[in-house]
Structure formats: C-alpha cells, structure tokens
Amino acid sequence: MTSVELAVASDSELAEVALTRAEYVHLVESLGREPNRLELGIVGALWSEHCSYKTSKPLLGTLPTKGPSVLQGPGENAGAVDIGNGLACVFKIESHNHPSAIEPYQGAATGVGGILRDIFTMGARPIALLDSLRFGPLDEPHQRHLFDGVVAGIGGYGNCIGVPTVGGELYFDKSYRTNCLVNAMCVGVVHHGKLTRATASGAGNLVLLVGADTGRDGIHGASFASVVLDADSAARRPAVQVGNPFLEKCLMEACLELAGDPRVIAMQDLGAAGLCGSTAELAHRGGCGIEVDVARASRRETGMTPYEVMLSESQERMLIVARPGDVRSLQEVFERWDLHSDVIAVILPDQRFVVRDGAEQVCDLPLDLLVDGAPLRGAPGPRPERPQPPVATGVPAPTWTSDEALLALMGSPNLGSRSSVYRRYDHQVGDATVILPGGDAALVRVEGTTLGLALATDGNSRYTALDARQGAMIAVCEAARNVVATGARPAAVTNCLNFANPEHADVWWDLHDAIEGIGDACRALEIPVVSGNVSLYNDTGGTGIDPTVVIGMVGVIDDVARRCTAGFRDEGDLVGLVGPVASELDGSEYQRLAGGVNAGTPPGLDIDLERRVHAFVLEAIEAGLLHSAHDCAEGGLAVAIAESCLLGDIGAWVGIDELGDGEGLINGAAGILFGESQSRFVISFAREALVRLHELAGRHSVPFRGLGSVGGERVGVTRCIDVSLADVRRVHGGALIERE
C-alpha cells in the first residue's frame, strides 16, 4: 500500500488535532503506517506551533545566544547566565495570551504559575516576576474587564506564592482589542552546582509525576494557542485551567530542597501539551526514549481516556527522573510537603515514545519524529510591497498649548502612573526589592551578596508596526537603557514575540524582520539571548495584533549601594540631557494623542551611539557623579523630566532654546519636547560634577548638554511649559482610574 492509501483520517479529524493534510501525509510517510487516534492526537499537540515552533524555529537560529557568561542558552526550560559569586541568574519570559483572552483571571494566574515552574525546575529560587501587558482602549468596558481580571490573576498567584512582582509594562492600543497580550517573566538565582537540567538519561531509570492530580484541564491547550480565535472559541472552554498557587508553593519548596541533589537526574515541569510534551522533551534532550503508563497517573476525575491523561494541562505538576533505588526516598521528600507522586514512566534505551494503559500498549512513535519532525514552515509568500511612508508626519496641527499637551500625555493610560496596578502586587516579599516599581528598572539584591539584578521589560508596538526591524532594535536598546539607568550592566536577554497569523506574508515577514532586529541590536550591544517564547496567531476574526516584541532584560550591578534612581534628588542640582536632539514625532505617544494615527517612520537609531551612551552613563554612575538617571522614552524629553520630578517629589526648570527655535508650540518645539528620539537619558547631578561629565562625554563621543536645574514645585520649560507638580501628580495618578 502507498502512504496515500494509508492516510485515511478525515478533514474533521485533522482539524480537531490542528494538523494540515500535508503534515498528516508526511507523518504517515515517515511512520510507514497509519497512526492510531491517540498517536494522531499526540502528534497534533507536539507539532502545534506552540510546541514545535515550526514557523519561528528557522528564524530564531540567527539570534546570538553565546557569550562568556552564558551557562544555558535556549533549549532548556529557561536560560542561565553567570552573575559572579558562583551564582547563576535563571530567567525566561512566556506568553499566556490566548487563555487570558478567554478567562482573564485564571489565564493570567496560570501564566504566572507556568513561568515560575520553568525557573524552579532549573533548581533556581524565583526572586522576581515581571509582567508585560497589552489591552485595547481602557475606556471600553470589555477591555476594563480583561485588564482588571488579568491584574487580579497575576496578583492572586504571585502574592499567594510569595514571589515579588517588581515590574513590567502596560500599554493600551486598538490593535489589542480582540487579542490581549499577557507575557510573564520570572527571574531566579541558583548556585552553579545546583543548576538542574531537564535531560533524562539511564535506561531503566524511573520518572515520578509529582503534584496535582490530573483532570480534564486544558485538553488541546497547545493546539488552542496555535489557532486563530473565532466564535467557536467559547465552546472550547474546557481549555481553561484553574491555578492553585498554594500547591505550587509546596511543589516549589520541595523541588528547591532537591536542587543539586545527586538523586535527581533530571527535572521537567509540565506545561504545553501536558504529560505528552514534557515526557517527550525530557527523553529527547537526553537522546533516550520513554515509556509512559497512563494507568499510573492519579486522576481528579473518573473515566479519563489515555488521550485525555496524556494531553491534560492540569497545572502544578512536575516530572523527576531518578534511579529505581532512589525513588522511595525522593517520594518521602515530597510527602513532607503533602505532595503526592506516582511512578509514571521508565526511560528506554532507544529513542521511542511508548504509551501504555496498564497492560495494553496504545502508542509507539519514533521520538525524533514526534519532537523534531514537524515540517518547518517557510515564508508563505514574497515580501509584500509596503506603502511608502508618508512624507509628512502624521501629526495634525495641534490646537493645544504645550502645558495641555504635557498634562494630556502624563494623564494618558499609556504614560500615567501604574501605582494602582503594582500596589495590588506584593512587590517587597523576599526583603530584596531595592528599587520599587515605578522607575526605569526594578533592582533586586541577591541574598548573601552585594550584587543586584536590574530587571526590565520593554517593547513599543507602535514602532514595530511601522518598521518591525527598527522597532525590535529599539525594544532591545530601551530595555538596556532601563537597566543602565540603575547603574547595572546589561547581561542577557529573553524575548517574547507576539504576532498575528504567520500564514499571512506580511505577518511572517514582520516576524522575520523583528528577529533580525533583535539579533542585530544584541550583537552590537554584546548581550546574548538566552531564552524566549513565540506566540503566533494573535488574530481574531481576521483582525490581528500589531507585531509586538517584548524584551526582558537582566542587568547586573556589583554593589547595590552604588545604584542610581530615576527621581531628581537635591534642590540646586543641574539637569542634563545625554544623547542626540532631534524632532521625531512619528510613532510617538504625542502623535497618538494628537490624531490617533500611527504613521511615518519610527525614530532613528544609531546603535553605535547607543552603545557609547550606555558606557558613558554607567561610568558616570560608577564614579558617583549622578544623582539621578532616567531613560528618555515614550512622551519624549518633557515627559522624562516630569517623571523625574514626580519620582523625586521636586520640581525642575529647563530651557530648550539651544535645542530648537523656541517659538512656542510649533511642530519643531513639539518635536523637541515630545519627540521620542532614541539613545537618550535625562540626568541630574551636583554643579561640581559638570566639568567631569563634559570630559567623560567627550571621551565617549556622546552628546551631552546642561538643560536647567532641579528645585521648586513646578515643572517648567522656558517659554513652553509651566505647570505645578501637584497638577502633574493629579493627572498622572488618575490615568488608570475608572471614570464614572
């Protein structure tokens, strides 16, 4: 018989497991036989975009993942870099977009639970969480519902488990109306010797399934995350999992007790595609095989089929590989934490993936075909012609004064105070949060050392929508700037790529360009990419999101006592601008507020200047010359100054005459005040430091100029802006509060 004759699955069967006809035929040809229904379902889950990365894998290979400090690059549960003192920082960012769109509280909560497991599976104690969130316009009731639910879910999980949520970002844009984005990042610390891998070895070794009982949670979750949402999505709702942070806390403590324990050969958490995905990856990494007996899994419900047990995405579960003689003693460790465990699988010498239901063998697939065999997908079509960017910017002639413009920006949902969000998160548990949320990057000290980790996420989709490559480069640079502003050296990057349907050529090419941009920026700044996640099909009813690149950055400062913060400090200090002056309003928040249209070309970026600016700021902080440093980002120079005033609770007065023409709020001055030119910091310093800073700037070939001074209770720009700090605080503080 030919393979075509063997390929008898119906279209509806294939749709259910989200396989294309071509993928199915490839499967049958490779197997030389027709898969049974369980095998088909398992292949469908592991060949889903979510598990196989069949679209993004060929592109991701171009990212720089190596560096002297890299201990673990992509391929494990999370990346790891050396931070000195014999310690490693383990971190990763991951999306939970689709589940959050369906049930915002549980979707976000289980997203946090999942990323925490990725970190403690590596033996690292999680010390910080960050969340990068995107919703549609906040004045729409459904968006408010999603936003409130997601924030409550993040808090509900993180607060309960006792890991501080120290930062992140939050944007509102029309493009996320039907597809909100919830990206969660977790950072942990571990001694090098305790770094644990998810690589099985040793035929005959046993695999323990620890934690929650298995229920019908999230069957098809992996394929669910890999398809476009439609009206039927609601009907697929059993995909929603309910998280149990209390159980995860117990699981985390037990696993951390076992980190570095020679009895533990490998540890792997259960995430996408449940038992199926985790057992297959565990064995595949180790070049061995695995035989799972579903009859041995404790269940929460009766009547579950092998298919349901294998595909269940019940949360708070973990796999441990151990020698048969060590199993009992390991189970005792878990029992101390009231955790149940079952011996569920055995490691095989040859690379097969076998599933039994008691005595009956129900699946036997070549492991390599299952994990690595999904046909990769290239470009769905040639690069589409882009309409030429309009010559003029998309900013209409403003009818407001610059005072009004500043207050409108400071009070807008995208630039307003996030305190009503982060006060709902425990951001201090762990006695380690040195710089609290609200500044550029959070700074968390590392227990038992003087080391600090500066943590930030960043990504502006207005820029990536205009130019994916440039926008992605800017995201890397801005995340790095946030870290540099605290005095920390950027150490490594994790990324979350959120895109619409990659089967559309424009989306695929945006993804291609964005990955190229991340790679170029990271190579130039010498920051390796050690982990990441791709979320495709953020598309509902034909409406996709703008390409959204979220960069998670970790920086290291050797002594937290030498940190720098973003708020102005002392009356009489001078205010300075580091970096170029240009009048770039395309893609800016000012443009959004002025007309709502996102048009033109994103701000320019000279990556070599960016690098020199970082070096200058770091050296100035290290030399103790700065009293504050703040990334000049969305909203431009005027907003950066106002933010430093708010954070320091002190006013400032600056002049921009030498920067522009100073003729009131014509477009030129608006460009200088609110344009979002890159590679810039607003700094403050004692008068005595001015000469040394000029010398240092000269040495680094970095533009640097004094602008004015700190003091008083007003935010002022000569001939342009004069508003009271109290008014700025009022509008800023109320930006996210629901108006009756």
Partner: protein
C-alpha cells in the same frame, strides 16, 4: 411582589477546585476520613421584585448568565424561591 431567591454558584464539575481540596484535606486531618470530596461555592440571597415565580426565575437566570456566575468556569442553580411581601396570590 417581592420574592426571596437563593442562588448557589459552584465551579463546573470538570474545573479544578484548589479551595475544595484544601478543605477536604483539612477535614481528613481533623478526623473526618470519610469526606470524599469538597467543592466550595458561593451562596447568594436576592430579594427581587416580580409578577410571579416564573418571571422572577427567568430574571434570576438572566442575572446568572450575565453576572452572578463566571460562565467560563462556574455553574449556577436557583435554590428556593419564596414570597416575601406583597399581595397574596
């Protein structure tokens, strides 16, 4: 006429109930080994104006769908409905 309506909201049978698990385990530790399962829900007591019981039930059903239960993960059922005040039938 005013009716007193009881509504019980519980997680759907297929949905994990961490709270119920902890309460069950706590009862086991306190010496109630016979407890097989605990599901924790919410009990609401409403006072609703309406013409008759059928109309009030329909109103409350609609409330359940729109607000009282999270249709993604919860089921609801109307418990007792009784007359509180107003003219006798």
């Amino acid at each position: 006429m005013t009716f007193a309506v009881e509504v019980v909201v519980v997680l759907k049978p297929v949905v994990n109930d961490p709270q119920g698990l902890v309460v069950r385990d706590g009862l086991h530790r306190l010496g109630f080994p016979g407890v097989r399962s605990v599901r924790v829900g919410k009990h609401l007591e409403l006072e609703v104006e309406g013409d008759d019981e059928a109309e009030v039930r329909a109103q409350v059903e609609a409330m359940c769908e729109q607000l009282l239960r999270n249709t993604v993960i919860e089921d609801s059922r109307i418990g007792s409905v009784s007359t509180l005040s107003g003219k006798a039938l």
